[in-house]
């Protein structure tokens, strides 16, 4: 992903539950496409990074540089999707839960 734009955008991330040690009780999925957000939210921000009004103001303040310590807005998930997970509970019963906000659909500067 080195060649991807350095501006805030969604990047590919596949999470394998085995990698984080949850595979012993998670039946399915074994892995899922979580994605993540990364990149700069520099002034001036393009439309595609969907800055909030607050982020726009913060970006200007940061660019002006009159107030020390103000960082650029953060590149964070905007729209997210849920993920159904089938797992075993502590009593080894099968449980299905639909977790919200597990997969990034879009990123934004906030």
């Amino acid at each position: 992903q080195w060649n991807e734009p350095r501006i805030c955008s969604r990047r590919y991330l596949k999470v394998d539950f085995a990698d984080i040690g949850w595979n012993e009780w998670i039946i399915s999925p074994k892995s899922f496409d979580a994605y993540y957000c990364s990149g700069a939210c520099e002034f001036p921000m393009p439309k595609i990074v969907r800055p909030s009004n607050h982020a726009t103001i913060q970006s200007i303040v940061k660019a002006v540089g009159i107030i020390p310590g103000i960082p650029e807005p953060c590149c964070v998930p905007d729209k997210m999707n849920s993920l159904s997970v089938l797992f075993l509970d502590e009593n080894r019963n099968v449980v299905l839960k639909v977790y919200p906000n597990m997969k990034v659909e879009t990123c934004a500067c906030r």
């Binding site: 001036p44 921000m45 393009p46 020390p68």
Partner: protein, 356 residues
């Protein structure tokens, strides 16, 4: 027999109960293969489950998982489905199924619950019997009483020999399939409200030695509880339920081997950053002031076109022209102006801000 219990069932439960899905589970031994028919992914999951894939409750949950993945959970389905398998207990020569529902969280609001059990006592259809018979009275002759079961839920006995009756429902078996389903939402809701989550279920058909589970130990009756977990949108909810590790595993219980046994051996990891609490700066971050010329030379990503930039963000602060003037301007001209003035505005803003 299901009609009174249908009210309040979530769509997923309703579909499963009445769409004929149980018929695909008509043979316990063929359960995983029949359920997987037409769904290779389900077959993969069954393989992943290994031995437990032969378990009817696991197959049922896999089917629900597939359904939720395919269609998403509809409003009213809730975000949680829990399955519960019982332990078989013999009390007073009666087979009782001991359900432990204590893993249900307080935040899980029960929407509905269903009880599933195996029984090959199903009524033979009169149509089948009379199909070859030309006797018009065949149907009347075969008017046998329909087999029925009584499903009785009791609390776990403490002072009474069998426990208090918590619910009693009558089940008339389906025409098809050997796996039967009954809505027991009201019983589970009351049990949860009363905090009595250990239940004994008894199935009584009036016959001696009636066994209500399929061949093999993996086909015991089971309960499915459809719930809406109100805490699932809370921060970190996924870790609360899925990140389970024992911070003090058995091998570490020996105080001498525990890294936390002595505070002397602990290393202080935090560092003191002077002034970090009293300003807006993030610790360990070097801040630099941007010079004005950087704004237009170094911060423009080359791959973005002008039209992708915010065109309207700063319009409101531009000096307003008169309505007449505005009408005169063509759309293209207006867009060009907007683009060209956007940077001017930025420059003005910056200058003003710097002056201040």
């Amino acid at each position: 027999s299901h009609a009174p219990g249908v009210v309040g069932l979530p769509p997923a439960a309703y579909d499963f109960l009445f769409s004929g899905a149980p018929s695909s589970f008509s043979s316990a031994s063929a359960s995983s293969s029949s359920a997987a028919a037409g769904s290779e992914h389900l077959g993969d999951l069954s393989a992943a489950l290994g031995a437990s894939a032969r378990d009817m409750v696991a197959v049922h949950m896999l089917k629900l998982y597939e359904k939720y993945n395919r269609e998403g959970s509809r409003p009213g389905d809730g975000n949680t489905v829990r399955s519960f398998k019982p332990k078989l207990e013999m009390i007073n020569q009666k087979a009782l199924y001991h359900f432990n529902l204590t893993s249900m969280e307080d935040s899980e609001m029960v929407l509905s619950a269903t009880f599933h059990f195996y029984s090959d006592r199903r009524p033979r259809s009169r149509e089948v019997i009379c199909k070859r018979s030309k006797n018009s009275s065949c149907r009347l002759l075969h008017l046998q009483p329909l087999p029925r079961f009584h499903l009785i839920f009791r609390s776990v006995p403490q002072n009474t020999p069998l426990g208090l009756v918590k619910g009693n429902v009558t089940i008339f078996p389906h025409q098809r399939g050997v796996w039967q389903t009954k809505d027991i939402s009201h019983i589970i809701k009351e049990a949860k409200q009363g905090g009595e989550l250990l239940l004994l279920a008894e199935l009584d058909s009036g016959e001696k030695d009636q066994v209500f589970h399929g061949p093999g130990p993996n086909n015991m009756p089971y309960i499915l509880v459809y719930a809406n977990d109100l805490a699932i949108s809370e921060p970190n909810s996924v870790a609360v339920t899925l990140q389970r590790y024992d911070p003090f595993p058995a091998s570490d219980t020996d105080p001498s081997s525990s890294p936390n046994a002595s505070t002397d051996s602990r290393v202080r990891r935090d560092i003191y950053v002077p002034g970090s609490i009293h300003d807006n700066e993030l610790p360990e971050v070097e801040y630099s002031v941007h010079h004005p010329h950087h704004l237009h030379h170094t911060h423009h990503p080359q791959h973005y076109h002008k039209h992708e930039l915010w065109e309207n963000a700063y319009k409101a602060l531009k000096p307003k022209s008169s309505r007449k003037d505005r009408r005169k301007k063509g759309q293209d001209h207006n867009e060009m102006l907007t683009k060209s003035q956007m940077l001017n505005f930025d420059e003005k803003t910056m200058k003003k801000a710097r002056r201040k």
